[in-house]
Amino acid sequence: MNNKLKVLRAMRNWSQAELADRLDVSRQAVNAIETGKYDPSLPLAFKLARLFDMPIEEIFDDGHEGSDND
């Protein structure tokens, strides 16, 4: 899953370690999310959304356009 975490972090001039501290996760977790090797759990995704004050779908992109009601 693609995400804008690296860009959002860079806009705030935060290091991976700094973001990890704010989320109370390891630096490796932040790196794994940024590089797309790991998709965060829903609670962590909500935490990210609250931290950046953005909806989850603006941070993460699963490659699907619009709503999936089919």
Partner: protein, 141 residues
């Protein structure tokens, strides 16, 4: 911003619990290994042999292992983030598959006199090695 980047940040309660859990597991392992090695009688490493032990030492080592592991693993699992928890779960699964493939294979070959008797500690060490490799790969790749 640069100042906050370079500042030494205090450890969060979660990271303190994490460090304490890992530290306790290392201390338990080091104490057990050191005490067993001090009683070495052969040429190799006593901790990896099947040499006899005194009942008192064996009972003490077993209690230390079980209690130490339960306490340190409880601390670890209460402190890990979900990225590491996922790495731990996949590593545990890989270790379990290693054991389920190797133990019955070795056992059945032994019954046909095609292999020596299965060695529980060797099976444990093999599964543990796989566990460690997968955990390290998933956490640090």
């Amino acid at each position: 911003m640069t100042e906050t980047r370079n500042m030494k940040r205090p450890m969060s309660p979660r990271r303190k619990r994490y460090a304490a859990g890992i530290g306790l597991a290392l201390v338990v392992g080091a104490v057990l290994g050191a005490v067993m090695q001090r009683g070495e009688t052969g040429d190799g490493l006593t901790i990896f042999s099947n040499a006899p032990l005194t009942p008192g030492f064996a009972a003490g080592a077993a209690i230390l292992w079980v209690v130490g592991m339960i306490v340190s693993l409880t601390m670890y699992h209460r402190a890990v983030d979900d990225h590491e928890e996922r790495a731990y779960l996949w590593a545990g699964l890989a270790a379990w598959y290693t054991f389920t493939l190797s133990a019955p294979t070795w056992w059945v070959l032994h019954r046909a006199s095609l292999a020596p008797a299965p060695d529980a500690m060797l099976l444990f060490a093999g599964a543990l090695a796989v566990n460690l490799i997968v955990w390290l790969w998933l956490k640090y790749r």
